[in-house]
């Protein structure tokens, strides 16, 4: 999963430095951010759940 996220981040970075359109950059960047949040949620649940 981490490999896939880094691959999406590489794509997001490449599109960003090329000066691509606002919508294109935002979509790829948001996909990477959601993937990071999903993996974080997985580790939260797997290791030690918190009580709020």
């Amino acid at each position: 999963m981490a490999i896939l996220i880094f691959a999406v981040l590489l794509l997001a970075g490449w599109l960003t430095v090329r000066g691509s359109r606002r919508a294109t950059v935002l979509v790829v960047w948001t996909v990477a951010l959601c993937a990071v949040l999903a993996v974080f949620n997985h580790h939260m649940a797997a290791k030690l759940s918190l009580n709020f």
């Binding site: 960003t16 691509s20 951010l33 974080f40």
Partner: protein, 203 residues
């Protein structure tokens, strides 16, 4: 003058965070400390943070950077920094109760995840101040020159290096173990296994 300052501050921002990621590599390969899953998530959040100022730099290729581009760039950085700070805070809380020694060795008295939390807080302050003075700092009369190419190239090389390093650590598994102790890619290679076996027979 302030327009140029805003452009160069974006470069400095990316360079500083590239330095942080390179320091992570120094600890990983120099001190032979493998990053845990939360460390990897913090690296990913740092790269997401860097996409903000890089967007501002990249828009200079297409002409002048607008105020909307400038605010979008630092808005992206703020959102990613909040996520990164959340991951770092989670790792701090996991190890905060004594006598837990923490994960990995300390650098200048603090563990790397604590330094990571501090960098995300610095990013939040920097982006806040940049947005307060957004009208003055929005880049004007700048062009995408060799310095911008170097910064963007360094960023892409570091992201690619992270991809390779995490492949070495993860191998063909879907998730990292909570406390990784070896590089799974090399561990699974039959050639290395055979070499180790023959070495053992000779010894």
């Amino acid at each position: 003058m302030t327009g140029r300052l805003g452009f160069w501050l974006a470069h400095l921002f990316v360079l500083a965070y590239c330095g942080v990621l390179l320091a992570g590599f120094v600890v990983q390969f120099g001190a032979d400390e493998l990053p845990c899953p939360l460390c990897i998530l913090q690296r990913q959040a740092m790269i997401l943070v860097m996409c903000g100022p890089l967007y501002i730099i990249g828009r200079a290729r297409r002409g002048d950077v607008t105020l909307a581009d400038y605010t979008m760039g630092y808005g992206m950085s703020i959102v990613a920094a909040v996520v990164g700070a959340g991951v770092a805070a989670r790792q701090i809380l996991l190890h905060i109760v004594p006598p837990d020694p923490g994960y990995g060795s300390a650098v200048l008295g603090l563990h790397l995840y604590t330094w990571s939390f501090i960098t995300f807080c610095v990013v939040l302050v920097f982006c806040g101040v940049s947005l307060i003075f957004g009208r003055e700092l929005v880049p004007r009369g700048v062009r995408f020159g060799w310095a911008s190419k170097v910064v963007c190239g360094l960023f892409l090389v570091i992201v690619a290096a992270n991809l390779v390093a995490v492949f070495f650590e993860l191998g063909f598994h879907w998730f990292l173990p909570p406390d990784p102790t070896r590089y799974e890619t090399f561990h699974g290679l039959p050639l290395l296994g055979a070499a180790a076996m023959s070495g053992g027979a000779v010894g």
